[in-house]
Amino acid sequence: MTGNSAVGEAAIRAGCQGYFGYPITPQNELTEYMAAHLSRRRGCSFVQAESEIAAINMVYGASLAGVRAMTSSSSPGISLKQEGISYLAACELPAVIVNMSRGGPGLGSISAAQSDYFQATRGGGHGDYRCIVLAPSSVQELADLTHRAFDLADRYQIPVIILGDGMLGQMMEPVEFKHEAPEEPPVRSNALRGAKGRPSRIIKTFTSKPTELEELNWSLFRRYQLIKKEETTCETFLVEDAELIVVAFGIAARIAKGAIKNARTAGLRVGMLRPVTLWPFPAEAVREFAKRTKYFLVFEMNMGQMVEDVRLALEGKGEVFFYGRPGGVIPTPSEVLRVISRHYYQEGLR
């Protein structure tokens, strides 16, 4: 199954009842999967919207009405969704947003890239907010994290972004789904469904009192602290004796893994830390490693974005190297191996 279809199937099994999208390569298979499979389910709706702006606002509407809702797009379309994501965050509404990102800036290329890391992890739209950002690196993980995304969105009443890329979305791998679609997906308890047997509800942020908005921001940030504490996740690979730690996410981590395996065969003690949640970033894990080794190589398919989070986490304690390829160029494991070896020998590691 392709990564894009796996997200669709996992979303349906997670009880997603509303999908709203607009075509853009390389994620069209996901929109098409939902058109074929979600639209036929009782109580579910699929809309091919007139734009990404409309699509995210339909998600906002469906979320207001209390159902699990999602949209997907790729980089240029995700830029257009930022207005809606800001409103979702402000109104504390759950939603899942998939970005099968591609090369930028501008119309860019349709090939896989990771240049939307800043946009995803810093909020992306206007205002002081965060989204949980999940970064899968295989089709199986795309499926698993899709399910987790819906759960996290509901638990913390927050938009969750799945940051994939064009390669993950389009590659085929076997995938196992761990859940059956619920018969009767639950409706969120604070949904807008008409004021029947209760006082009317208002969902809004606009206020003429700055202190009211300040309190909203504080309450969001208290929740963000909780998310940092409870939900930060990362994967490690061959780190026990590692002298050099490669930090990479998503498809880049997959490429790095290949390089690291070969480095190990050549006798280099190299390991990897792969953030699964990009926000919250596993800063604590990075700091832990700094107690054992000094050397970090950050590898990204961009000009250096996550590397800033690694440096922030290390607080000057380690040596951070960076290797990046932007614009939709997909580096090979042997290219990454050369970079690993160069730094390894330059620093005189053994």
Binding site: F20, A65, G194, T205
Partner: protein, 251 residues
Amino acid sequence: MKKVYSRPKSLKRNHFHYCPGCGHSIIHRVMTELIDEMDLQDKAIGIPPPGCSVFAYHYFDVDMAESAHGRGAAVATGIKRAYPEAIVFTYQGDGDLAAIGTAETIHAANRGEKITAIFINNAVYGMTGGQMAPTTLSDQKTTTTPYGRDVKLEGYPIRMSEILALLKGAVYIERTAVNSPTNIRRTKKAIRKAFQSQIDNLGFSLVEILSPCPTNWRMNPLESWQWIDKEMTREFPLGVIKDITGEKNAD
């Protein structure tokens, strides 16, 4: 003694923040009367816009949610698709519906979304201080057309209702005004028809209401009522623009 007039049940006990003579408060009143009469208070979900009516939820005692500027029709689509039992209405200004939200509005109408748009045409951007709206009349002075709207440079006042009437998904479109007791009664009748077409699941409905903005028109309330009759209705004639509710079957 017989009570002939009282506050609608679905109108909250708050003082309107609108300027004296503003059409918004009249329209709120008419709509909440209808919500009571049609027994919609526990089914209605309203989407007010950024604009002078951004605080509409202080007055309507029904479920309401804020929309981003112009996105009301898309938000309403999401709600209605997720919960078709609701009676969903947007409440939008002319800047909101006919400029920044043109695409959302046209496509919601074209899909025949079972929602109702209440479209307040006051020929200016009220909330932001009286700038040109897409519906500003030719030669009309606003803060961004200080010498009058020059249609050669700024385009023509847009007749959104007529444009929407071309779309097959739109079943009921009427233009009314709130500048006289008669017109207010007609407005109420039009909104009743629009809500009814939604209850009957027929398609997209919209009522455009010519509404005075004495503040930004730099007029007193009486002059602004007269200006609607003398100037606005020439560009925006009142009446039913489209009604195919009799021909359509619920689907």
